[in-house]
């Protein structure tokens, strides 16, 4: 084992593994966005801002009210799920028959609202949970426990969604809607209700992501901007509404960011990821997993 590790640069391997760990959370974010796009055919530009609100919820419950992390987490997930449902009910539902771009821009307005709400309510200070999780040493490599935990929780979350989508009547209906909206009523499915459920589910995933991200990052009103764009790129590259594509693209991007970050700042990892994205558009314009016609 040691001999094998010697061949490779130890830091390179560490970065690769950290990339995989980051990929879990990104995949979770992409899944939520893809779910909503796949079912309702809208893109929530403000998705990352929902995560931001969730991070604040965690911060206040844990730091301010002294709740334990594991008790605060379900509440946060519920809260953001509720926000998701509310977003659909108040903003998307009135626009369902409007041109798609209008729906998208309306969620852009919500992005403004959430960001500035956070600024007004919580100020622009950076805040963190103050939980310092230990660092795991493996050979000469160090892995943050927080990342490992996030990765595992993200996986569990995604498996739960998978089971829900494949095993339950509601999950099956959610998968069916995008294939034929008109006849859903013949199945006894109330499409409006399904949209609300899907929005809540998408919100819940954002809430879960918030619980995980707050372990690693400080929360501030603009924190959504640091992972929102990358989530959109992942979804576009994976093909909007394509769960498997999004999953793979998440790990590809996470590796690029992590390896790019190895050589300089994390921000350059993002830039590299964007450059990669542009190149990929030339090679596979319809997305990573598009079927060739």
């Amino acid at each position: 084992m040691q001999a094998f590790l010697d061949i490779f640069d130890i830091y390179l391997l560490e970065a690769v593994i950290n990339g995989i760990l980051l990929g879990g959370v990104l995949a979770l974010l992409a899944l939520g966005l893809n779910l909503i796009f796949g079912v309702i055919d809208v893109t929530w530009i403000c998705y990352a801002e929902l995560v931001m609100i969730g991070m604040y919820a965690m911060y206040f419950m844990v730091q301010y009210y002294g709740l334990s992390y594991f008790i605060a987490a379900p509440f946060t997930i519920l809260l953001v799920a509720l926000l998701g449902a509310l977003l659909h009910y108040l903003v998307i539902a009135p626009l369902l028959t409007a041109p798609p771009i209008n729906q998208l821009l309306a969620t852009g307005g919500v992005l403004f609202v959430l960001q500035s709400f956070a600024t007004v309510a919580f100020g622009i200070d950076f805040r963190n949970l103050g939980i310092r999780l230990p660092v795991l040493a493996f050979g000469d490599m160090n892995f943050s426990y927080a990342r490992l935990l996030s990765f595992l929780a993200a996986l569990v979350g995604m498996v739960a969604v998978y089971l829900f989508m494949t095993r339950t009547f509601t999950g099956t209906a959610i998968r069916a809607i995008s294939q034929d909206r008109q006849i859903m009523a013949l199945m006894g499915v109330d499409t409006k209700r399904m949209y609300i459920i899907t929005s809540a589910l998408g919100g819940g995933l954002a809430g879960l992501a918030a619980c995980l991200l707050v372990l690693q990052y400080d929360v501030h009103p603009f924190v959504g901007l640091s992972f929102g764009p990358i989530t959109f790129l992942i979804c576009v590259l994976g093909g909007l509404g394509n769960f498997i594509g999004g999953f793979i693209a998440a790990f590809v991007f996470a590796e690029i960011i992590s390896l790019g970050g190895l050589f300089s700042d994390l921000e350059w990892g993002y830039v590299l990821a964007f450059a990669f994205f542009i190149v990929m558009m030339f090679i596979r314009p319809a997305g990573l997993l598009a079927r060739r016609r």
Binding site: F169, A173, Q182, I183, L186, M187, G188
Partner: protein, 234 residues
């Protein structure tokens, strides 16, 4: 069981049905025949709530269908097999059938209904994990009918079940309709294949340009001059 009284319906400013009166009694099989664009599909859609009548009343066993939300109509016992089957192509046969049993009343008997459908269509059991969109036209029609049967309906609406199928398969489909009738279901079937359908149903309505032109027993319709000339090519 089902009664339509003075029903007008259409799409936007386009009116497709004019003053339609139609009855289906329990245990009957009733056909609706007529040329393309006569309003046959509209008739089916207005019964199952996909479009709403602009005038008139529709009652299912005395319950006002027009006042029932579209997604609750299937709970009244009306199952609609839409034109062109309209399966969920990216879902497996199993999942398609599951969708048929979506409503709360049907979920309890899901396993039982699934056995019933698989017994009726052994072919579907073989293909249960296959994507519905990859099956042949005949198999897809079975799946679509099976999906409708999953809701344990009293009345089955069949819209052009033979459309787009090979002649041999058309024969099979009509055999199927007979078997479904035999199981005690009431059937309302829309067809362009007049000859075939009149051998399956008890009564039929002839619809032209959105209006019921004539009606009668299958035998009467087969003997009728208008039907003979226009649709049977005799």
């Amino acid at each position: 069981m089902l009664e339509l009284r003075s029903v007008d319906a259409g799409y936007g400013s386009f009116q497709a049905l004019f003053d339609v009166n139609l009855d289906v009694k329990a245990g009957e099989a009733v056909g609706v025949i007529g040329p393309n664009g006569a309003g046959k599909t509209t008739l089916m859609r207005v019964i199952s709530g996909l479009i709403r009548p602009s005038r008139g009343s529709i009652r299912m066993e005395g319950v006002d269908v027009v006042a029932t939300p579209a997604h609750r109509i299937v709970s009244l016992g009306i199952a609609h097999v839409p034109e062109n089957r309209r399966l969920f192509p990216q879902l497996s046969v199993d999942d398609n059938l599951k969708m048929g049993a979506f409503m709360k009343e049907a979920r309890g008997t899901y396993a039982k209904r699934l056995d019933f459908v698989f017994e009726l269509f052994p072919r579907l059991k073989e293909r249960r994990h296959q994507m519905a969109g990859t099956m042949s036209g005949g198999e897809q029609q079975m799946c679509a009918i099976g999906r409708a049967l999953m809701s344990n309906p009293k009345l089955l609406l069949l819209d052009e079940p033979s459309a787009g199928l090979a002649p041999v398969v058309v024969q099979q489909v009509f055999e199927l309709v007979k078997r479904i009738r035999a199981s005690g279901l009431t059937v309302l079937i829309v067809e362009q294949n007049v000859q075939q359908v009149l051998h399956v149903v008890d009564r039929a309505y002839l619809i032209e340009a959105g209006t019921i032109r004539s009606s009668g027993t299958a035998a009467e319709m087969l003997a009728s001059d208008t039907v003979k000339e226009a649709y049977l090519g005799v």
